[in-house]
């Protein structure tokens, strides 16, 4: 393969669309599971942008950042999901809005 | 070294007092009394080695070698911070007053404190240590450090052993002093930075900074920073509102120290730092300061007249009396300054004694409300007679210390501004009004025969006798005190007049 001949900003457009969709999900969902999923979407879109930029310059750096993001996502999901389990056990609910003990 | 030792004895004594509580609840107070008295004796022995002649020699403000004592070692050389202590006549008087009233304060709280005596006495001693530091430190950084050191134990004394509304009072006290202290810190740092900019030398030393060249506009704002810090402590109108609360809520020893010593640090600061460091700016500012002083005198007296709480009344009388100090400082001539120094000493004794009486009354009656008192002379004639003595002292009876002070201040002020002197003299009348009202409401009037009250005992009488003697001596033979402070005052005046090229 010798590369893809489409403008860079198209793929960045995809990445930003994915990002804002994830962010919208973050803002509107109350279920913790969905919040975590939205985070995944956002991380993934960021990774897409990195990889695209790396490909644009023909450098491997973008892919390396992707791998960093991947490990962050893995760690985050592992901790996040175990927190979900704890939350479900204690409060019998996954409603983020009901968890407002930090209210000032 | 001597001066460091004076402070260290008190600091270590405080630690000892904490641990001595394990030996018994009444041990800490004995330890504290012993520590203060040892410190006092140590100081007196050291002072006795200074020849008479030297105390009368005028110290040059910017040359530490002409002072009675001087001690200086490097502390943080990178910023030119030194542990620099010095003693001249003025500081000497203040240090003596501090230690004497310190002993009085320990005695005042002999039976008053019921919980955690060790920690209480420790706080008391640490406050004294901080005050001594303030009176002797001549490195501005060190000065600021001690300024804070004396604040925090005092906060604890009010917050832990105070009366019903102690939390509020302690916080108010803390915020007022702390906030104003920060203004002073800003001024100190700016002063040092400006001096560094001019000379390339980092120094916090008072002796070096006296000669700092500062633009007039900047000097004014820096002076204001110092002024606010000291006037809050003094307390001068309109920064006085922490005082009635703090005094009312503090335990007896706290009130004694607060009124007797802590307020004087403000006055001392004005004389030592605010004016000499910024003579030109102070000269421009003097009319405002004088009006604030007059306002304090009159306003304090009127509010004292309106109070029903014994301690609050005495607290407002302090505001009024310290107004005279402010007047004395900013009139800045020898009469007024000597009067201000006298007022610092005399007010220390008279008000401390009144607070002790208030404390004794509260201990016996469990109230400070004068509406529930009356005719106490019948129950406690000794206390009544002593209260009468200090009340006439506080209203400025000639023959007692306060009169000499107020007279000199007014006489000095009269040479500067006649109108202000006339208004300030009204303070003599209003002073009589509230003082006598205090006497009337508490000790005179219809006695309650059913009250069973214990009159002053030997310990209290002895403490009171010390202060009464002091006031009488100050009143009829004040010359020794005036002689000690005269060289300092004269040299300060001549120093500032050289800088400003005229009198302040």
């Amino acid at each position: 393969m010798e590369g893809l001949n489409i403008p860079l900003n198209h793929i960045l457009l995809i990445a930003s669309l994915l990002f804002v969709i994830g962010m919208l999900g973050l803002m509107i969902r109350r279920n913790i599971i969905f919040i975590l999923m939205s985070l995944e979407v956002m991380l993934n879109s960021a990774a897409l942008a990195f990889v695209a930029a790396g490909a644009h310059w023909g450098q491997p750096d973008g892919q390396i950042v992707f791998m960093l993001i991947l490990s962050i996502a893995a760690a985050e999901v592992a901790v996040g999901l175990s927190l979900v389990l704890q939350v479900q056990r204690r409060f019998r609910s996954l409603d983020m809005d009901s968890l407002d003990w930090m209210r000032g | 070294m001597l001066m460091i030792n004076l402070i260290l004895i008190l600091l270590i004594g405080g630690v000892v007092a904490i641990f001595s509580e394990r030996l018994g609840a009444d041990v800490p107070r004995k330890v504290a009394l012993a520590v203060v008295i040892i410190d006092l004796i140590y100081l007196l022995i050291a002072l006795s080695t200074i020849p008479q002649l030297e105390t009368l020699q005028a110290p040059v403000p910017s040359d530490p070698e002409t002072w009675l004592m001087h001690y200086s070692v490097e502390w943080i050389p990178a910023f030119g911070i030194k542990i620099e202590l010095a003693l001249d006549g003025l500081s000497m008087l203040m240090v003596l007053l501090t230690l004497i009233l310190g002993a009085v304060a320990v005695s005042a709280s002999w039976t008053d404190i019921k919980v955690r005596q060790g920690f209480f006495e420790a706080n008391l001693l640490w406050t004294l240590a901080g005050v001594l530091g303030v009176f002797m430190a001549l490195d501005l950084f060190l000065f600021f450090l001690f300024w804070e050191v004396m604040l925090i134990p005092m906060y604890f004394m009010i917050a832990i052993w105070g009366h019903e509304n102690r939390g509020y009072a302690a916080m108010k006290f803390f915020i007022f002093t702390q906030a104003s202290g920060l203004l002073m810190l800003v001024s100190i740092l700016a002063l040092v930075v400006i001096h560094h900019g001019n000379t390339g030398v980092w120094t916090f030393s008072y002796f070096d900074l006296l000669s700092a060249q500062i633009a007039a506009q900047t000097a004014f704002w820096l002076m204001l920073g110092f002024f606010v810090a000291f006037v809050v402590k003094l307390p001068g109108f309109p920064f006085h509102t922490w005082l009635p609360d703090a005094h009312t809520q503090a335990p007896t020893a706290g009130s004694v120290i607060l009124a007797g010593i802590l307020l004087k640090t403000g006055a001392y600061g004005l004389i030592r730092f605010a004016v000499p460091l910024f003579p030109q700016a102070s000269m421009e500012f003097a009319p405002v300061a004088l009006w604030l002083g007059v306002a304090g005198v009159i306003y304090g007296a009127i509010l004292a007249f309106g109070q029903t709480d014994f301690k609050r009344l005495v607290a407002y009388s302090s505001v009024s009396h310290m107004g005279f100090v402010l007047l004395g400082v900013y009139a800045w001539n020898i009469l007024a300054l000597q009067g201000a120094v006298m007022q610092m000493v005399a007010h220390g004794f008279s008000t401390a004694a009144l607070f002790m009486i208030a404390g004794s009354l509260q201990e016996r009656l469990h109230t400070r409300d004068m509406r529930e008192m009356g005719g106490l002379w019948q129950n406690m004639p000794r206390m009544g007679a002593i209260a009468m003595f200090f009340i006439v002292a506080s209203l400025g009876l000639p023959g007692l210390g306060n009169f000499v002070a107020e007279f000199l201040v007014l006489l000095g002020l009269f040479q500067v501004d006649r109108l202000l002197a006339v208004i300030a003299a009204l303070g003599l009348i209003t002073g009589a009004a509230y003082s006598l009202l205090l006497m009337q409401r508490s000790f005179q009037g219809e006695p309650d025969e059913t009250r069973q009250l214990v009159d002053f005992g030997t310990r209290e009488m002895l403490t009171m006798a010390v202060m009464m003697t002091a006031l009488i001596v100050l009143g009829i033979y004040p010359q020794p005190i005036l002689d000690i402070s005269r060289p300092v005052v004269e040299s300060l005046i001549s120093f500032s007049s050289i800088v400003t090229g005229g009198s302040l």
Partner: protein, 611 residues
């Protein structure tokens, strides 16, 4: 001997200190001995000094120590002794001794016997310092000292709040005058550079011209002090209330010595007054107005002590009149004779009160002539002297004042006429007192008669009140010689006759009953006028409305510390911010995210703009 002059105030002072410190350990006899004895010794020493002085009239000054020396200001604890000092010291220690003696009987049942003598001795000491002081500052010490002693003694029976009020009023009203005087001292020092009384006179000669404004202001300020202490208009209101104290106190402090301190002060500083003729006229007018006002008031009072109090105010008014017209010698002379006869009258009234269960109202007395003969004769002599009947001591002094007042250019005859009216009224009210109390029917039976400790002072004072007029006071060196032309004879005759007329009027109204004045006095206008006089010309009421109430109101309004409102506002503002910000801390994750997004938008917008 001269060096021992310091002992004269010191002995009573030490006695006072002893009485205060060891009150519980002394027997009543010892207390009395100490109290009376110390003043007695002071009196003997004074007498010795007086005899020396009369033999060798040399003025001297004894400096004990430097009180304060600051810059150019210097004040010594130093005593100055001249004829004027001698007169004042003699009155203080002599009359003081008699009153102390009298007190031992008057106060014998009081529980606070020691406290009483401690205060009284302290008063004598302070008063002696006042008159002996070499400089005005030391004089001011004595001045305030007697004020405090007066306060303590007026409020001696502190259990009654009314006494406490009277005491405070006395102190504060005089303090107003004292403050004026203090300002006068400041002005004098600033202008003349010293407070030494003799040096002041010399400095004034160098620096001042007659009629300058500075001496006028200074003299008026000093007059303010004198007016306060001597209970002259407009600061006289404290004296009638001060009668709340024990009667011997009224005799000593509020008749014989302290209240005349103002007269002494003006006489002492007469060299300054010579530079301020307007101030002199002011002194004379204040004196005359006061004497008339007080005389009218005395006419309507019921309380025996209040009558005497107003009479004192009135008599001191005469002294001021004398000072104002330059008749210093006459003023001081009247001060002395007044001390004799007024002390006598007060002690007499004290004896009556003592024997009549503390009755003060003269209309509940009556017919005491036979019951208490010694007191009756004391009162007769005292009243005669007060009314200035010929050959009594009061006659000599008052006559001199009136005649010298007549001499003043311009307003002299008016002053003289005013003085005559006052003299007439004085005679009427003093004999009204005598006739009502000692004649007529007995309303209250005395339960005891006076003992020897009362009789001796009364008798001695009777002699002094009668014969005091023959004493020649040795003040010729002190005051400039008055150019005294004898006025027309008719002036003298009228002056002599007026008091006699007054006595006759009093007799006709109050004893004989020939003069029916009921119709007159019951008329509406006279009723109102009487009420007006009775209330002391409503001056108390006026001050109450103008000063006391507003001050109380101000204190009450400010009690809650208005300045604190500012700080409370700061607190409220920061609390409001706190509430706002902590409301943002909702604990709702989605809101946090939303606000983060918002922040992101803003940041990005800034970035975009910047690039």
């Amino acid at each position: 001997m001269r060096e021992l002059i310091g002992l004269i105030p010191l002995i009573p002072l030490l006695s006072s200190a002893t009485l205060m410190l060891f009150a519980g350990h002394l027997s009543r006899f010892a207390i009395g001995l100490l109290g009376v004895g110390s003043v007695g010794i002071a009196a003997i020493l004074t007498a010795k000094m007086g005899i020396d002085f009369l033999g060798n009239p040399e003025v001297f000054k004894v400096t004990l120590w430097t009180w304060m020396q600051v810059g150019t200001f210097s004040s010594d604890v130093a005593f100055y002794f001249d004829g004027l000092t001698l007169v004042m010291m003699s009155v203080i220690t002599g009359v003081g001794f008699l009153i102390h003696l009298f007190s031992t009987e008057f106060m014998e049942e009081d529980v606070s016997y020691a406290r009483y003598f401690a205060y009284l001795n302290m008063f004598v000491a302070a008063m002696l310092i006042l008159v002996m002081a070499d400089n005005l500052l030391l004089l001011y010490l004595g001045w305030e000292g007697v004020g405090v002693c007066s306060y303590l003694l007026v409020g001696f029976w502190y259990q009654n709040s009314a006494n406490g009020y009277a005491a405070r009023k006395a102190f504060i009203v005089t303090r107003i005058g004292d403050t004026l005087m203090a300002l006068g001292l400041f002005l004098l020092f600033t202008e003349l550079g010293t407070l030494d009384i003799q040096a002041l006179g010399d400095a004034a000669k160098d620096k001042w011209q007659v009629g300058d404004s500075m001496p006028l202001i200074a003299c008026l300020l000093i007059l303010g002090g004198a007016v306060g202490k001597s209970a002259q208009l407009p600061l006289h209101t404290w004296l009638p209330d001060a009668m709340a104290g024990p009667t011997p106190v009224s005799a000593l402090i509020h008749a014989a010595t302290m209240v005349t301190a103002g007269v002494y002060l003006i006489a002492r500083t007469h060299e300054l007054y010579l530079f301020a003729p307007i101030a002199m006229i002011a002194v004379a007018l204040v004196g005359l107005a006061t004497s008339l006002m007080a005389a009218f008031t005395a006419l309507t009072q019921h309380d025996i002590k209040r009558i005497l109090a107003y009479s004192t105010i009135s008599q001191i008014g005469y002294m001021f009149l004398a000072l104002g017209v330059g008749a210093w010698t006459a003023g001081i002379f009247h001060l002395m004779t007044h001390a004799f006869f007024k002390a006598l009258l007060f002690l007499g009234s004290g004896a009556i009160i003592h024997c009549l269960h503390h009755e003060h109202n003269i209309f509940k007395m009556g017919g005491l002539r036979t019951r208490m003969p010694v007191t009756f004769w004391s009162f007769m002599i005292g009243s005669a002297a007060l009314a200035a009947l010929p050959m009594t001591s009061g006659f000599f002094s008052k006559d001199q004042i009136l005649l010298q007042a007549y001499q003043v250019d311009g307003i002299g005859p008016w002053l003289w006429f005013g003085g005559l009216v006052g003299a007439l009224l004085t005679a009427v009210y003093s004999f009204r007192l005598v006739f009502v109390v000692f004649f007529g029917q007995v309303n209250t039976e005395p339960d005891k008669d006076t003992g020897w400790r009362m009789v001796i002072p009364l008798s001695l004072l009777c002699i002094l009140a009668m014969m005091g007029g023959w004493i020649i006071i040795p003040v010729t060196q002190v005051f400039p010689l008055a150019v005294f032309e004898h006025p027309a004879h008719w002036v003298e005759y009228v002056s002599i006759a007026v008091p006699i007329v007054g006595v006759i009027i009093a007799y006709l109204i109050f004893l004989g009953g020939q003069l029916k004045v009921d119709v007159f006095t019951n008329s509406f206008v006279m009723q109102k006028l009487q009420q007006f006089w009775f209330s002391g010309w409503r001056i108390d009421w006026l001050y109450d409305q103008l000063l006391v109430r507003p001050y109380y109101g101000l204190a009450r309004a400010l009690k809650l510390e208005p300045v604190d409102n500012f700080y409370r506002l700061v607190v409220t503002i920061s609390q409001t911010f706190n509430q706002w910000l902590s409301a943002g801390q909702s604990g709702q994750m989605r809101r946090y995210i939303t606000s983060m997004v918002f922040g992101l938008i803003v940041l990005l917008a800034i970035l975009v703009r910047a690039s």
